[in-house]
Symmetry: C2
Subunit: 225 residues, 2 copies
């Protein structure tokens, strides 16, 4: 039997605090920019109940460290020109799954093409933001906003859509798998070594899992998160 | 640029119903057996709010199909003799992360060795059950029970432990990553081809993600799950 790589169980809790930048209050909040909000919305972001220390502990649990930040950033120039093709695959997947397409549809079951198109613009931005891997309180607050927009608290409001009023919790973490599995060919499309592709892929898996955890907050009973 | 493997976006929603067995009511519920319950507990299982159709839709979203069932079952004879070594790695990881060890500790921060040992017995059984991949209403009901035992609803009761009263939601899905990443060397320890190892690993990732979703149910506001 092969020996167990104990290198996989590092003491990351302290080291990973370095993955979260201190908030620079002199900078404007980038998530108030128009591409994060609907044409009809005044940008506003509630404060996430988590702070950067909570985020660092969660990143340590996910074995997410500075190497993952570097791998995500390496993926950004590779993915940016492929964003439309990536979204075609993800939208194709959602369209193929009736239980998912229902959330972009009215209560009579008719998919809302305008709503799908407007969400797609923010989805493009999300690919770039995930690859940028900039973590601070502004980023945490925006993750909380994304969660609210999936939950009945704020769904449809950003785009004045009339689709069903709530995305059920269970599909948020479930989408981690198809989103990251179908991303891999796009990470292989450049000139990177197999090791670099694998590092980028694992960093994406950890990051998407982390984000769906943060988006879950509005679903969880107060005090249980 | 390489073409996109549209084979990755199959229409699984219908096909995957086959992954869930109809309940055979003539069989005794296996999850009432003593190894699933504490020495002081009368076995009882509440009904999961999900039924096998809900499970099939969730499996389809996860791209989990009959090939994953076969891959999990292939892993069972490989993992069974390694269960103790696997648990050593997982317990080593928990012990290395203060934010996780806290959940096995009293409010004064003292880890409860008896509690850790008793949970370990059920954890061994969990490895075998995950690899057995038998899905029906009894299995769903037991997943719900596991969720209750992480949540303040029933934590500590199975083992009459006096550790902190609740595991925060965010660490349940986060553990999917370290648990499945550290499993891979054990899947490589047999005589299987790289393709078989990869199939077993991907099936484990999907299954553990699926299970943590089901365990989340007691944390989510009624109607939002």
């Amino acid at each position: 039997m092969r020996s167990i790589p104990h290198s996989l169980i590092p003491l990351l809790a302290a080291a990973c605090v370095a993955c979260v930048s201190p908030r620079d209050t002199s900078m404007a909040n980038p998530y108030l920019a128009p591409q994060y909000h609907g044409a009809h919305q005044t940008p506003e972001l509630a404060r996430s109940p988590l702070d950067p220390d909570d985020l660092a502990a969660l990143q340590a649990t996910l074995l997410f460290d500075e190497a993952d930040v570097a791998a995500l950033r390496l993926s950004r120039p590779l993915l940016e020109p492929q964003v439309d093709a990536i979204l075609d695959v993800w939208y194709g997947f959602v369209a193929s799954q009736p239980q998912l397409l229902a959330y972009f549809s009215s209560s009579t079951g008719q998919p809302d093409a305008d709503y799908l198109a407007r969400v797609r613009e923010r989805f493009s931005q999300w690919v770039l933001d995930t690859a940028s891997a900039d973590y601070d309180q502004d980023w945490l607050d925006y993750q909380y906003e994304i969660g609210l927009r999936h939950h009945r608290s704020k769904k449809n409001r950003t785009d004045e859509a009339e689709a069903v009023e709530h995305i059920h919790f269970r599909y948020l973490p479930a989408l981690v798998y198809p989103v990251t599995a179908t991303l891999k060919p796009f990470l292989e499309a450049g000139e990177h070594s197999p090791e670099q592709v694998e590092a980028m892929h694992q960093a994406w898996i950890k990051s998407v899992l982390l984000q769906t955890i943060l988006w879950s907050q509005p679903y969880v009973t107060e005090g249980d998160f």
